[in-house]
């Protein structure tokens, strides 16, 4: 188990000293490889606070988080020789709007910055930059360009390459596709899926887009008012009962399926995994 939350509460202090609980009694475990997790929930439900605990940017108010063997709690964090760098390297966190954090003269220097900061030598950092720019779907010619002359989607990819160059085991992305056009969104999601499948890394994506959840995730975490209320597969999540009880936004595939079942009085044999499967199923019925 790479990351394990044990009865974690987190309280933001606030100006009025009353504070509020952003996380309540969180217990969850995440593997270092092979997971594709989406994290969903309303604004203010605690999603970002949760992932900030995954690489020790925040320390639980009570309870603890063990990250690659290092126990993060109020007691340990106060110790003088407590070093967080190793886990920050293992768990890469890409913030919302990572493109605001590009600052170097060239894309190459920007991607090399992270690994060099963690003690990787110049030549190795350069090698990794050349490798990672391709992983995110851009070619080597980008390396000499200024990051500021790139499109929004390209900037996002460069900043993700920078995190990948640190060779984290787990990659966490906070709303990585918001503001991208559909083609740019799909291209980026395929990049994450490639990293997940080819490099066998665990990917955690925060999103509001239920189509992303349905078509890419193997596992879904749902936050609600500081509680983790669902931890399971996307197909069970979008069952009729859950949609009604939790007022979930429905993925397009499920939405269309439900409409057809209701208005044509038919029952499809199963939930399709993706758009292609749905099209084939409808084809069968329409004949």
């Amino acid at each position: 188990m790479a990351i394990k939350f044990n009865r974690v509460d987190f309280k933001y202090q606030g100006f009025d000293n009353k504070g509020y609980l952003a996380l309540s009694n969180i217990n969850v475990s995440i593997n270092a490889e092979g997971e594709f997790i989406t994290l969903i929930g309303e604004t203010g439900s605690g999603k970002t606070t949760l992932v900030q605990h995954m690489n020790a940017l925040l320390t639980p108010t009570s309870g603890n988080v063990t990250i690659f063997g290092l126990k993060i709690d109020q007691e340990n964090i106060k110790k003088k020789k407590f070093r967080l760098n190793p886990i920050r390297q293992k768990v890469g966190l890409v913030f919302q709007f990572p493109e605001y954090q590009l600052f170097e003269e060239t894309v190459l220097k920007d991607i090399m910055f992270g690994p060099k900061n963690y003690g990787v030598d110049e030549a190795t950092a350069r090698e990794r930059a050349i490798k990672m720019i391709k992983v995110v779907g851009l070619d080597e010619s980008y390396l000499d360009r200024s990051p500021f002359n790139l499109s929004g989607g390209e900037k996002k990819r460069v900043s993700i390459a920078g995190i990948l160059a640190m060779e984290p085991d787990i990659l966490i992305l906070d709303e990585p596709t918001s503001g991208l056009d559909p083609l740019g969104r799909d291209a980026l999601l395929r990049v994450f899926n490639d990293i997940h499948q080819k490099l066998n890394k665990t990917i955690i994506v925060i999103t509001h887009d239920m189509n992303t959840v349905y078509e890419y995730a193997k596992r879904v975490l749902v936050m609600r008012d500081s509680y983790l209320v669902y931890d399971g597969d996307p197909h069970t999540l979008f069952s009729k009962k859950n949609i009604e009880n939790w007022n979930l936004d429905i993925p397009d595939i499920i939405n269309l399926l439900h409409h057809l079942e209701k208005d044509f009085n038919i029952t499809f044999p199963k939930q399709p995994q993706n758009v292609d499967e749905l099209l084939t199923m409808i084809e069968e019925v329409a004949k």
Partner: protein
Amino acid sequence: MNIIEIENLSFYYQADKPVLKDINLTIKKGEWLTILGHNGSGKSTLAKLLIGLLRAKSGTIRIDNEELNQNTVQSIRRKIGIVFQNPDNQFVGVTVRDDIAFGLENLSIPREEMIERIETYAQKVSMSEFLNKEPHALSGGQKQRVAIAGILAMHTDIIIFDESTSMLDPKGRRMILDYMKTLNDEGVTIITITHDMKEAVLSDRILVLKNGEVLKMDTAANVLKDKITLEKSNLELLLPLKVINRLEEKNIKNEELRSYLWQLSLTG
């Protein structure tokens, strides 16, 4: 009556890299227009030109029969307002009340009327109970509603929503869409910039931009089913229309299903 008339409008930062090329467009009073296009197609630039945040390199913009230029920009900003994408980037006030007041302070409106307008429009977007709160304590959807109230309080005739729902959660998004509908029903001219076809279908007409030029301008229904135009713009057909296409490809004729799917697309 045309409330916006754009003629031969062009804009660039570097002369050899045009951002908008020779745009001609008229928008009727009370109309709801969607602007679609890939990232970098010039959608937001067009919005910024319309509210006078950028100055055109050539061409003219007339808003409510007044030509936009340095002398008229202040008066035109009373007619047209904009809600941006990122709810965090548009707050200046210490409280929600200050924030709604900000635009009004430039209009030299008597204090009593100002107070009244703030109350009225905060109520209209269901934010009355938050008037004394700090904006940063609000959710994204609540912040966008405050931004809308600020614009409405200035009695603008036109509101531009520049991807204003793209950063919101599903609940916040639905609420803002409902306000767009209500406002449009009340006669406000709406311009929405979006990548979301489910949002675009709510409007009367759709303008599609590609690399700074008009690729298509038509009714929402006609653009919606135009697969080639959408693909050229990095956009996708709505799912029910993908099904219709598939049935056509396979030569499956099922008129009942076809018209059902078409109706489903039109309701978003």
